[in-house]
Amino acid sequence: MTYLTSAEVSEAMADIGPVEAIRRNRVQVTTTPGRIRAALRSATSRLQCDHLVQIATIDTGHEFELFYLLTGAHRTVLSIRTLLPRDRPKIRSVHDLLPPAGIYERQIHDLLGITFDGHPNLGRIILNEDWPEGEFPLRKDWKMDPAKSYGGAPEEVR
């Protein structure tokens, strides 16, 4: 199989958003949060992307950038990029389209506080069980409060 060309991706993603070729084996589609499920459906059915590599998230300081990196037998990395506003970080979950997405979404929810609507269990996965609510350590504006307890220590030394 050969690499996907940006023309092929443009054809499959016609109503999703602009397509750009980043490298020979990497094509990026920029879309809105509302069309993310349509983008993934089209990527899995029309472009034969059967593998979700990861969901990368960047906090730029103004908004969150989500990259859904998919690949398949054609060995092209298809990157579906979407921007989320910082004051309302919400997006639909895609765990039912690509089951491995569920665990990535849980990690992103834990560390960056992005809510994935429709996810069956957005519980803690990386941080300790008694970590305070509403603190997201990977956000750029997050600072540790020395007066606050962040948990983890056993009872007698707390």
Binding site: L127, N128, W131, P137, Y150, G151, G152, A153, P154, V157
Partner: protein, 167 residues
């Protein structure tokens, strides 16, 4: 020391059993401990055995900074060990938290959760340094037997002495 005490002291130092616990290390320290156990250094010929459960162990080797997730678990492992128990904190991370000190997910060094008896410096320490640390713990076991416990080593606050004023 009475004969029975001397006998117990000898028995305790004869064959220390160790347990390795990774409280969030990068695995380099664990590899060095394993290198100490395998044929090149072969500590088993000296009677140092690695055990699979804290209930059988005398010395707990803790590698790495204590993460917030491992804090309670490390305490549970420590509490399960029979007295007299000794703790060896390994590497720069075990002593202070090392490069991870002050990060959101760590409680820093091993002393945040349990009291270490010996620190081994290095990042990671070589197997011969680990063996040296264990042998130094054996020396501590002997001294603790003579003093009747660990209390004599506890750090005391310096009591300010009144200045001697010349008449």
């Amino acid at each position: 020391m009475s004969l029975s005490k001397r006998l117990v002291s000898w028995a305790r130092q004869k064959s220390p059993w160790i347990i390795l616990f990774n409280s969030g290390a990068c695995n380099a320290c664990d590899i060095e401990v394993l290198a100490a156990l395998t044929p090149r250094f072969d500590v088993e010929r000296l009677g140092i055995l690695a055990k699979g459960t804290p209930r059988h162990a005398d010395i707990l080797i803790v590698t790495g900074p204590v993460t917030r997730k491992q804090g309670k678990r490390l305490r549970m492992i420590y509490d399960q060990m029979p007295e007299p128990k000794y703790v060896l904190a390994m590497g720069a991370c075990g002593a202070t938290g090392g490069v991870f000190k002050g990060l959101y997910h760590v409680l820093d060094g091993v002393d945040a959760v349990i009291p270490p008896d010996m620190y081994v410096a290095g990042c990671p320490p070589r197997p011969d340094e680990i063996i040296d640390g264990i042998v130094k713990i054996l020396g501590l076991i002997e001294q603790d037997m003579a003093h009747g416990g660990k209390e004599w080593r506890a750090k005391r606050k310096a009591v300010p002495q009144p200045l001697e004023v010349a008449p």
